[in-house]
Symmetry: C2
Amino acid sequence: MTTREMLTEANKVKAQVAALTPEEKNAALFAMADCLVGCTDAILAANAQDLAAAKDSVSEVMADRLRLDKKRIEGMAEGMRQVAALPDPVGRRLESITRPNGLKITKVSVPLGVVAIIYESRPNVTSDAAALCLKSGNVCVLRIGREAYRSASAIVEAMRAGLQKCGLDRRLVNLAEDTTRQSSADIMAATGLVDLLIPRGGKGLIDACVRNAKVPCIQTGTGICHVYVDAAADIGMALDIAENAKCSRPSVCNAMEVCLVNSAVAQDFLPELWRRLVAERAASPVLFKLDERAFAILGGRENCVPAGEGDFDREFLDYVMAVKVVDSVREAIGHIAVHSTGHSDCIITEDAAAADRFVNAVDSAAVYVNASTRFTDGGEFGLGCEMGISTQKLHARGPMGLNELTSYKYVVRGEGQIR
Amino acid sequence: MTTREMLTEANKVKAQVAALTPEEKNAALFAMADCLVGCTDAILAANAQDLAAAKDSVSEVMADRLRLDKKRIEGMAEGMRQVAALPDPVGRRLESITRPNGLKITKVSVPLGVVAIIYESRPNVTSDAAALCLKSGNVCVLRIGREAYRSASAIVEAMRAGLQKCGLDRRLVNLAEDTTRQSSADIMAATGLVDLLIPRGGKGLIDACVRNAKVPCIQTGTGICHVYVDAAADIGMALDIAENAKCSRPSVCNAMEVCLVNSAVAQDFLPELWRRLVAERAASPVLFKLDERAFAILGGRENCVPAGEGDFDREFLDYVMAVKVVDSVREAIGHIAVHSTGHSDCIITEDAAAADRFVNAVDSAAVYVNASTRFTDGGEFGLGCEMGISTQKLHARGPMGLNELTSYKYVVRGEGQIR
C-alpha cells in the first residue's frame, strides 16, 4: 500500500475511533497489551532480523535502542495498560456559558483526527504512540526508520490482533510500508489527511519536518538547556543540580548543555564543579568547553578546553558541557534569549527577586528555580505519559500528554435564536 | 526597510511588550485610541489617496471595505478602548500542582511573541489586530494589500504616536513597507522570527499561507456552513434560521451555503423556504441551486436551477445557496463530513437523540442545534473580540479571542530536587 493510500484508509476510521466510549478504548488497550505479550516470539524474531541487517551500519548506541527483549516487550505492554488507567481526555467540558440571548455554548474536547508520528529506530515508540493516540480518540499513522521496520511491523500486527479481538478496525493503527524518504515526504505533504504530525528523533528529522511539512506539525525535542548559577546560589545545591542535569542521562533533550556562572561565585564554584564532574567521575568525565573567563579559572586542568565557535549553540547529548561566566542575572537572561532552544532553563539562587526576574524573562517551555532540568518530562510533570516535548509555542508547549492530543469544538444549543 | 529587517526589529522588542503590566498595556491602548482620533484628518487624506488610486481597479464592494470616514475611525478607536477593558490574557495560572517530590509546577499563560497578520483591503483590521496583539503581550507585524497601504500606514503612525506618548517603543506595531507578494513570502518563510501567522482574507490568501508558510500558521475563515432541517424540525423555526443564516449577511464566513433537508419534510418545507428567500425578498432574492430531488420539488420556479458540479463545495458569499434532500441524520452527517470546511454546521430538530447524534458526529469548530450559524463570532461567543475564526484543530478552533493569542510556560520551583 502506498503511504497516500494508507492515509486515505486511516481517515475512513476517524469517526469510528472518535465515537468509542472510554470503556471501549480501555478494553482495546488491554487487549492490545495482551496480544503484544502473546506475540513476544514473533516480535523478537523480527527484531533479530532488524539487528542482523543493521549490524554493520549502526553504532552500538543505536543497536541498543533497536534491541528488544522479553522484558522490554513486557514493559511496552505495561505502558499501554498504564495509558488505559489515565483519565479520558475526550469529552471534557472545558467551558460552559449561557449567553444573554439564551444560547448555551459548551466548549468540549474532541480528538484531533489522524495523528502521524515520524520516528527513528526505537521500536517501543510504536506501542507508546499507538496507545496515546487510541486513548485520545485519534487514528495513528506511524512511520519508522528502515532499520527498525520489521520490529515495528510485528508490534503493529500484534496490536491490530488486539483491536480485532475487540471488534475494532485494524486501520486504527497504521504503519507506513514504505521506509524510504518518500513516505516521510508524503506524510508531510498530505494536507487534509493529517491533523497533526509529530516528529520524534534527532535534530535533522525535526528540522526537516518543520521546514517541509504542509500539515500541522509540532516541533519537539531539541534542548540546549541552561543552568545559571547565580551570585546568591547555594553552592552545594548548585553542584548537585549541575551534576544531575549534565550526567544522569546526557543523551536526552532535558540534559544541561550550558552552565552559566555568575562571576561573583565562579572562582569558588568552577573548581568544585570540575572536581564533581571530572575528577570524581573517572568512568565518564565531562569535557568542559570554557569561555575566556572560565578558562582563566580552570585552564590547564584535565578535560578543560576553550569553547570553540558554536559550542554555545550545540546540543552535545554527551558528557560535554559549555561553560560561561556572566556578571548578572540580566546577562544570563540575555545569553539564554539568544542561545536557548526554549526547552528547559534553570536558575540556582536563594534570592527571590533574582528568581522572579529569571522566571518572568526566560521564554522557555519549562523555567526552573532550584531544580534539575531533567524533570521536564510528562511523567515527572504528572501527565502520566508523554508524546514528546514541544519546543514551539502553538497548541502545546513542553511535555505533551493526552490532553495535548485533543482539540475542542463549540457545541451551541438554542431554541431558534437568530442574529 | 525590508520585510526581513522589520521582522528582526520586531523581535528585539518582544521582551519589552511581554513585560508590560496590564495597566501599562491599557494606558497604551487608550493613548493609541486618542491618537487615532486625533489623526483623523491625516488618516482620511491617506485614505482618499488610496481610494483615488484604486478607483479603476477595484469593485464597489471592495471600495466600500477600503473607505474610511470620521465615524469609522471613531469606531476603530472605540474598539481599541473595548479591548483595553477585557481581562488580561497574560499571567493566568492555568494549572498549579505540587508533585510528591515537592516540586511546585505552575502552568502560566504567556504571550506568543511576534504575531504576523496578512490581510487584504480593510484598514480597520489594522487597529483591531494591533490592539489584540498589544493586549496579549505580543509584537504585531502587519502586512496589508497594496490598495490600502497608505490608509494603514497613517493608522499605524497614529498608533505609534500613542505608544511613544506612553514611553513605549514604536516597533511594538509594525507595517510591512513592501506591498508586493515578496513581503508575504518573506513573512511566511521567517522561521524563528514569527511565532504565529494569521491570514485574514479570501480563500486564495488563506490557501497560499497554509500551503507556503514555514512559520506556525492558523487557517482561518473559509466557511461552507450547512443547515440540516431534520424530519423532526419545527418548520417555522427552520425557516427563520435558514433565512437568517443565508440572508442576514451573505458575504461572511458564518453564513449558510448549503441547506440539507430531510425527505420527510422536503415537500412541505422547500416551497415555504422558496417563498421566504425568493418570493418575499424582491430586492435580493436567493438563487437556489438544487440537487435532483430538490429540483423535482421546486423546479420551474423563479431563481431555481439545478446544482452544477462543485456547487456543494463552494463558498458562495452571496445570495446563492445549494440545496439537497437527504433521507436521514446519518446521510446529513455523511454529506457534511465530506463537504464541510469545519466552520459551523447546524441541525434543526425537536428530536433530542437526533440532535445529540449530530453534535457528536459533526467535526466542526461550531456545531449548532436550533440556532443560526451566524453566531460563530468572538463577540457573540462572549470572547469580547475576535482575531479571526480558526477552521483548523491545532492551537485554536473557532473564534480566536485574546486567550488564543497566548501560549504558556511551566514554572517549576524546587529546593534542590534532582532526578
